[in-house]
Subunit: 166 residues, 2 copies
Amino acid sequence: MTQADTASTVLTPSLMTPEYLLADWQGHRRLTRRVIEAFPEDQLFTFTAAPPMRSFGEMAWELYGVALYTLEGLVTDEWPNPDWTEKPPHEKAALLAAWDELTRRMDAELPTVPPARYQEEKALFWGTMSALTTALYAIDNEIHHRGQGYVYLRALGIEPPPFYER
Amino acid sequence: MTQADTASTVLTPSLMTPEYLLADWQGHRRLTRRVIEAFPEDQLFTFTAAPPMRSFGEMAWELYGVALYTLEGLVTDEWPNPDWTEKPPHEKAALLAAWDELTRRMDAELPTVPPARYQEEKALFWGTMSALTTALYAIDNEIHHRGQGYVYLRALGIEPPPFYER
């Protein structure tokens, strides 16, 4: 890409490269994976620190689903209404296997997204927003629920993984 | 700023403008403010859903301190070792007043940060990282602890504010 190409895409000072977004997202997903692993198998899908809140395993499947939906939207530029009616298995091994497969797909596919797409407004079923906002929302939602998982682990007497290690 | 100026600053495709960063950060801080407000005065600095975790009020003062430190670092480009030994008052009104004053400062001062500074590596006491990473870390840390505040509110039987409203 030449400087002229860049200038035609970016008309205001910009802070974040696509490579940074991928590294940041995957760093968060690695940490979330460690939080999933830290739960005892028999607590991951049953324990809640504050009913009626869900188990962390159910939250983690949501995080997986949102990340998958967002990746596919960014790559294909199609943003259908998601179908999240199917209940994924309440098994740690199945969750981690899906998580790792998505990690591989994200590394392979996110770099194919045209950078200009991130600034475009997309009509999603939860509102119209830029594609960048959908990506950051997926990350923010993951941090939010993972923080809840930290409380669950503390309530179970388990030391959570360090937040700053990605 | 001309396109030539932009091209000299931005050599790879970039996704996030300084205006976006400010709006995103302030949106998160507005939501955190609503979470602080949602706590009963007598629980904000005393309740924990999972000992030995801190009260949400103490976490919120940390979030305030990290945001203030990060804003001042970005604006002045000085990154001294922070001094967080002084204990702020355990009073909701004092916390909210400080929060709102920082909101005003952030609106006024963050736009003065030269965009190129965000890519520069800074030696902080917790490690060397880009200024952008310090800003995003402050936001991520806020989302993380706010998510914990949601669990505390649920454990108190209080409905937290919607996560998606900023």
